[in-house]
Symmetry: C2
Subunit: 352 residues, 2 copies
DNA sequence: ACACGGGATGTTTGCGTAAACATCGTCTGC
DNA sequence: GCAGACGATGTTTACGCAAACATCCCGTGT
């Protein structure tokens, strides 16, 4: 050999190179059959204690690691779950992913990430076709967009799927936080404080959850007999909240704003600060998500708490059920939200 | 068969059940050998155009998807990269993961997430052993802690590894943002504005990057002949920044604070607002990370921008190089940072 | 004492793919 | 017109594992 440095790399008769030892090697070392090694490896109990010890010793000596490709080929199971999500992910998506990863790990499944760079239909379709070749037993989709309704995006037949945040409940299993309830809680909170109406900075029109929040806000206002101001559409970013905040802050009759997420609420509050309209004395602001930082905003933000961890956990529960029973179920599971009242909301000045 | 509902499930002679069609099925359908199907599947060009078309048509007809387990078993490559990270991840880690996922996808590799619930040594060791059985060609570790120095945590021999944020440059390939440069930029910025000294809210002692920021801050003060105030240690959270902010804000001689991340800076500013010490008129504040929201804080935060995307990209570049050449290299790659000056910093009142 | 049962262990086989090698037919150059 | 070459395609094989089946051995009941 030309390249040799450590001397350990003796390049013996079996020049298996980078492939590690196989069960056969362990079996030879322990003086048993490879099937016995397999039994030990899989924790089956019909192996004599002494034999088991010998096998384990041989495994450690050789540094044996099971080859999951061979195992998957034999069993037809990969013990892995694919997650499709946008590249530039939001706080909520990350928290959901976090919970999904944790729940999967506990069930002995690993997570394969399939990022989608842009929310264009072509990109998503590409991710799906890439996924077709991936080694996964099921898929979680965290793409909040209508794109999934496109007929040309199809999942492999028989592949279990769970979707977060979508309207596809009739075709797939869907898990989501109760967007409508959250938006109602936020709007009612402001109305109960005495505000005549509640202005709304919505999320993008392409987002299902944004639409649901907006519709619930509208319904709540209608039910209360309050007027429905014109909707301003943001893109979830603090910057878009800031821009709309400048607009709303210039209108003296605006006393209560419900932003569809915490970042936009942050931007709104920055605009109000700049315009000299104190929060909550002159304008009350409510957000959505309850991000870690929202309690440290100035002032601390009243917002709707979403239990992303629970959503992620339920996703995996439902998906594993489908994987292990091969039963295809549809329907939507809703996780409740709750209002967290902090210091960005107060009765309007006229009421005090 | 007892269970039959759709009628489509005819349970034909070949009761292959949930396994999809294989290359042999496609070959039969197209009237070629399975090897030819393999060649088409792998995009080799020594196949007649007409034959290729027939094979592709057969693939589509049968809904053929390559079995990656079999492919991995044969080739010894999984085309997948494992990422080990904490469950509750920070902004920066998520951005890095994002970049890693994107860069991997472009190179045709998928990402396998291995979450670690708690930063305890046992948890990490568990993740590593779990990982040993995972089907990955290389590993990226995004765990900023001394834990990795534990001798009992060992990676499988010959497994390429890249580490983000660590001191292990002598043993592994390390990629990281230039923490020292960033902290120096932040500290110098405040000194140049005329502040007598700069107080520091540090990250946790267990974090390498926090330590480097703190040391660089101290060195910069020393170089400038400025006194070195006592260090306050936070835990990256806005809440910890808030607590320390209450302490510092109560001291009239404190006019400049360098927080080791944006969240803690946010907490500091909240405390200063509560104490009636205007930012930046009475106290200047600088953060670290340049999170999306920091430009919408009140006031917009002066902070150090880290190029997480570049860090992630370089990780993958280095890792793929190691995977494909099997050369084991060590050393540290540093990505520059830059100061983003916004409105949370100004000369001290005494200078104006 | 002997048949029987059951636990421990071994042997055979095939999962789907791609490398290595084999074969076949056609085209080129002289 | 024929040897040689080369491109297209087929055949064989092994990757590492675990299910299915086979075998062996020892203890137990009658």
């Amino acid at each position: 050999m030309t390249i040799s440095s450590t001397g350990q790399n003796i390049d013996a008769p079996t020049r298996r190179a980078s492939r590690g030892p196989s069960m056969a090697d362990v079996a030879r070392e322990a003086g048993v059959s490879s099937q016995t090694v397999s039994r030990v490896s899989n924790g089956q109990n019909n192996v004599d204690a002494a034999t088991r010890d010998r096998v384990i010793a041989a495994m450690q000596l050789l540094g044996y690691r099971p080859n999951s490709a061979a195992r998957a080929l034999k069993t037809g199971r990969f013990r892995s779950i694919g997650v499709i999500m946008f590249t530039l992910s939001t706080f909520g998506n990350m928290r959901t992913l976090d919970a999904i990863a944790t729940a999967s790990a506990q069930a002995g499944y690993s997570i394969t990430l399939i990022p989608v760079a842009l929310p264009t239909q072509g990109e998503v379709a590409g991710a799906f076709s890439r996924l077709s070749e991936q080694a996964v037993d099921g898929i979680v989709i965290i793409i909040e967009a209508h794109i999934l309704d496109r007929a040309d995006i199809t999942l492999p037949d028989g592949m279990p799927v769970v979707i977060v945040d979508s309207d596809a409940g009739s075709r797939y299993t869907v898990v989501d936080a109760d967007q409508a309830q959250g938006a109602r809680l936020a709007t009612e909170h402001l109305l109960k404080l005495g505000h005549r109406s509640v202005w709304h900075i919505a999320g993008p029109r392409s987002s299902f959850s944004a639409i649901r929040r907006t519709e619930s806000w509208r319904t709540t206002l209608n039910d209360a007999g309050a007027p429905t101001p014109e909707i301003l559409y943001g893109d979830w970013s603090a910057e878009s909240g800031y821009q709309h905040g400048l607009t709303l802050g210039a209108q003296p009759d605006v006393t209560a704003i419900f932003a569809a997420n915490d970042q936009m609420a942050l931007g709104v509050m920055r605009a109000l600060h700049e315009l000299g309209r104190p929060v909550p004395r002159s304008v009350s602001v409510v957000g959505f998500d309850d991000t870690e930082e929202s309690s440290s905003f100035w002032p601390p933000l009243t917002t709707v708490h979403q239990d992303f961890s629970e959503v992620g956990r339920l996703c995996i529960t439902a998906l594993l059920h489908e994987i292990e029973t091969t039963a295809h179920e549809t329907g939507t599971t809703i996780v409740p939200t709750r209002l967290v009242v902090r210091e960005s909301t107060a009765p309007p000045a006229s009421v005090r």
